[in-house]
Symmetry: C2
Subunit: 386 residues, 2 copies
DNA sequence: TTGAAAGCGCTAACAC
DNA sequence: GTGTTAGCGCTTTCAA
């Protein structure tokens, strides 16, 4: 815990205006090298630090000859500007933060990609963290990113409507806002009126409605909803759309047919296996997402149940695995990458640096649509467990 | 490269040529709020800034009552420490940078996950960038991360042995090193003696050797090597292992059977389709990675060629898709996540803050092994295009 | 076109 | 235990 700064050899400390001959921040290896600073560059080029700064930022006229000398000096010294100093001195840190559950989950990876690309267009770098589904971790990361003065902090994915958590996040949102940053909710519900956030949503409920209706149109009425943490907003919305479709067609939802759990492949596999042996009857499965669908597909396969002849299967998200499964999975497409892009645009405006133009509105909702592939067929006479 | 602010990442040059100045980074909305600083907290709590600092850092005794007052003040003011100021004042920025080709590629995503997790253990945040296979972009990102004074900059994935590029990267490595940071090469060859880097490799050649041998043992001799950028170190190593195995069994490599290209699914699909119609004969396919294998599998499927009965197929990397393909793909396992973890450990030492102990050695190589699943069978009488 | 100098917010000697 | 104070490296008035 002791960030001791290897201090100064007192003798040289005070002499010339540029008295700088000490060393700090040594690498563990013996090096002795100190990083070059503007002052070094200025001295070497025989100009003032102000001029060096102007050369770097190209925001003020500098004589060609001077510029050349300065640039040569920078090269000679291996000078690399210190972003911390620059940020401290007033400039933006040119950083956006993004917090996802899990980087290896394509749902998040695609959104992260959108964020990264859009950020890069604006010359910004991305801080990315994985909260692993833990709200406390998420909150801690928001704080860490605030400390870094990120231009925007984007939290991705569904959330649980916990009282304490929500108000805590709202507080962070206010603090960020007060400092000129923005908290962006990506794929989750708003925090409430008093929280200054931006938001990018997608029509989650609508997608679930559409794909359920697709199933209903094929004659399926006993549809198993499988997976997804029951308290997560994502699950709730999907379930809501699912039920709305059911009710619209006069099908009464059977509680036994709602088997929530997690978003994992493993859950899909295990629960499906159990249900096939000893569960309610159904002719179609609506997996909470494509990953769960992959697990379910394996269970079905192992049980000798044919998809879609015996049972139809659909997923959600339309991540790449949907195209690798056999039969190829019918699912709901979500504009993941675009969500990521919009999230940063919402918070920091278009690519260019000095965005006088107001960033996009404060919230937007992108559409979803179903992608019909090969995993759905008209209902046959059979049901699971025949 | 111009030591000036390396833009290049975005489409537009930020820094408009003319005065950007004015207006110190306020939020676009009218806020007027200034962020609280240590000084504010100190005043509010009736103590000095030093005390506030001590309370925050818990690195020096502070009276309970004082601490309480300070903490209350921080809370009241919504104080959030400024990491830039802190870093400037001497502390480490507690950041590690990682540069990958593509976040949605599981190969990189797993490594990134390892990096993120290990970094988080040490209380560090990750800057992540996607170079998209462009060496210039990569170089620019290294620079940007250096500006941010990342404790380590990890570049992931194969590289092409370009003269200029290599020396440029080596230069950056030296600059980073001089400042106490480390450039870590993850899954790529060293830069040469004069470059102070750390490195995490995996036994790429060995894995290719092993899986080729596996194919040979099943009687396959005409093995098609499919995909991967021909100049990339990754491809070269895999091909080297492949050929070594061939030669060891007395099989003369047929140039026609080496069809390099890219690492994409699409390439696998298209080239495979072409080859099936009009190419050399072969009884097995060694896809450069699992993604290419997925594409090849689809081509095979559409051509009515059975795997593994008619043709055997193997991949490389052992990413999740390998388990979704039917038949499940035999492939080479690479300890991706572990590579990421080791990369940060190598550069910044174990989790704890003041790592006086020297980080792990300067380079290490992790093992690979084949994972036998269902996509390989003994050679049948048939060959492709019978 | 250039220079001098005042900070930005924080940490860490060094007093007291 | 706590306060004073001198920077850390850069940007940006304000003068020249």
């Amino acid at each position: 815990m002791n960030p001791t700064r290897p201090q100064a050899l007192g003798s040289t400390t005070h002499n010339s205006p540029q008295g700088v001959s000490r060393m700090r921040r040594q690498s563990t290896a013996a090096d002795g090298q100190r990083r070059a600073t503007v002052t070094d560059v200025a001295r070497q080029a025989g100009v003032s630090t102000a001029t060096v700064s102007r050369v770097m930022n190209r925001n003020y006229p500098v004589a060609e000859a001077t510029r050349a000398r300065v640039e040569a000096a920078m090269r000679d010294l291996g000078y690399v500007v210190n972003a911390h100093a620059r940020a401290l001195a007033g400039a933006s840190g040119r950083t956006v933060g993004i917090i996802v559950n899990e980087l290896i989950d394509p749902f998040y990876a695609y959104i992260a990609r959108g964020v990264e690309r859009e950020a890069a267009l604006g010359g910004r770098l991305c801080l990315v963290c994985c909260a692993q589904g833990d709200p406390q971790r998420e909150l801690a990361f928001v704080e860490l990113m605030h400390e870094r003065r990120a231009d925007a902090v984007i939290v991705v994915g569904g959330s649980v409507a916990d009282r304490g958590y929500t108000s805590e996040l709202a507080r962070r949102a206010r603090e960020l806002d007060a400092g000129g940053s923005k908290l962006v909710l990506c794929g989750r519900p708003p925090l409430g009126e008093q929280a200054p956030t931006a938001a990018v949503e997608y029509d989650n409920e609508g997608g679930a409605f559409a794909i359920t209706d697709h199933l209903l149109m094929q004659g399926h009425e006993r549809i198993l909803y499988l997976g997804g943490p029951p308290k997560l907003s994502t699950t709730r919305d999907r379930l809501a759309g699912h039920r709305r479709a059911l009710e619209l067609r006069g099908v009464t939802p059977d509680p036994e047919l709602t088997q929530t759990g997690t978003f994992s492949r493993n859950f899909g596999y295990r629960r499906m296996t159990e249900l096939l042996q000893d569960g309610p009857e159904f002719t179609a499965v609506f997996a909470a997402n494509d990953i769960v669908a992959a697990g379910a597909a394996q269970a079905l396969e192992e049980a000798g149940v044919r998809v879609p002849e015996d049972i139809s299967l659909v997923g959600y998200d339309d991540i790449p695995v949907a195209q690798e499964l056999r039969p190829r999975l019918t699912t709901v497409h979500v504009p993941l990458e675009e969500m990521g892009r919009q999230a940063v645009r919402l918070a920091v405006g278009g690519g260019d640096e000095d965005d006088w133009r107001e960033p996009t509105a404060g919230a937007l909702r992108l559409g979803t649509h179903i992608v019909v592939r090969d995993s759905v067929a008209p209902r046959s006479g059979r049901t699971a467990r025949m």
